[in-house]
Subunit: 203 residues, 2 copies
DNA sequence: ACGTTAACCGTACAAATGTACGGTACTCCC
DNA sequence: GGGAGTACCGTACATTTGTACGGTTAACGT
């Protein structure tokens, strides 16, 4: 019943604090840490707020576990990696709002990387020599970029479902699309390209 | 003394587990959670491992605080499955030719990431929304891609040394190069772009 | 042979932490 | 006036959790 009701200002404060802490410190606060932030002396008070937030579907908690608050939704304000300029990165070090990681960005499970050869996807910024981060899955939506296996060879192309079957669309005018009639030949989708990594002028 | 020595395989396991948990669950594990994951029955054992990791500068802990492990560096680890076709990634699991790591590819020190805004470097495959991996350094070679700070604003451009000074060259015909006469204005190089990461159509 | 180190075990204890219970004050609404 | 909801206070208690201590085993190098 109390499902989708609006948050009270106080509850919003609690939620914001939880978000800030999780983002900045990489871990949720304890009940008493929230207490001191709210200038509240009783853990019971905060406990009540958390119960309310949980009932409303904003958070999830483990029973009797320290720092077990888990955010289910998020309130505006996404503090990703600051692309807001204004400052100089070398001075903005303390503001790091998390890490870029492969596992962080993409989630460690079921993700692997493939080296990219050729320029057939140049149009969307996937270049020869890049690594494509691929999530293993047998189907992708029309328009998504897929790692496809055709007659034993794998390619990365934009996947487009057509009337007769599937079209693998390169992103480069000098390449021709590959049309595949459903049920013909050996074709399948190995995964969806969820990311790109490139190493530049290293040496 | 034990500062920069290599991690033992066991310590690496611990660190990996901590990373996975923090990434996936949004909170670091407790000592005993690590215990069960390692199939170890004594919290003391894990405590020792954590002490070692802390001494080696990989983590940081708060005294007597639950789930207070904080990662200072990271192991990235995503398997790289060869670019040689021949097999299908899902079946070629054992063939992995190593791992992609941020720290591995770029070296953990002195590297940070910036969000990229705008399409001025589209021509070389750096797109709006990408993360640029930048190594902090005050000078770059002609032709390299630099993160430059010009009058307090930072941009990513190709760095070209000219007779009068420096030219910041976009990789997009609709943008004009920026000419900088030596000794004029507030200009400096913040770092060199050594890599690109992109996250595509998440979820 | 000896010391060092990594990796364990068990157990015990104190601090941190989540939770429960009863009570107060205020607002809003029927 | 009475009921319901929010926001608090204190206090107490049981778990969870970090940490300490002593002991064991195996590998490695001198």
């Amino acid at each position: 019943m109390n499902d989708q009701r609006q948050l009270t200002p106080r509850q919003k404060e609690v939620l914001e604090y939880i978000q800030d802490e999780t983002d900045q410190r990489q871990r949720p606060p304890t009940v008493r840490e929230i207490c001191t932030h709210l200038n509240v002396s009783s853990p019971g008070t905060v406990h009540d707020h958390l119960a309310a937030l949980e009932r409303a579907g904003w958070i999830e908690r483990g029973r009797n576990q320290a720092r077990s608050i888990r955010l289910l939704k998020r309130l505006g304000k996404v503090p990703v990696l600051g692309e807001v300029a204004a400052g100089v990165p070398s001075e903005a070090e303390e503001q790091h709002m998390g890490f870029i990681t492969l596992t962080g960005l993409f989630g460690a499970d079921e993700v692997f990387a493939v080296g990219v050869r050729g320029d057939s996807m140049m149009g969307c910024g996937i270049l020869d020599g890049d690594y494509a981060i691929v999530r293993k899955q047998a189907e992708v939506e029309t328009g998504e970029i897929a790692l496809a296996v055709l007659n034993g060879e794998q390619t990365i192309k934009r996947f487009i479902r057509t009337e007769q079957g599937v079209r693998l669309q390169p992103e480069n005018p000098t390449f021709k699309p590959i049309e595949i009639v459903a049920g013909t030949g050996d074709f399948r989708v190995a995964g969806k390209v969820v990311g790109i990594m490139r190493k530049l002028g290293s040496r």
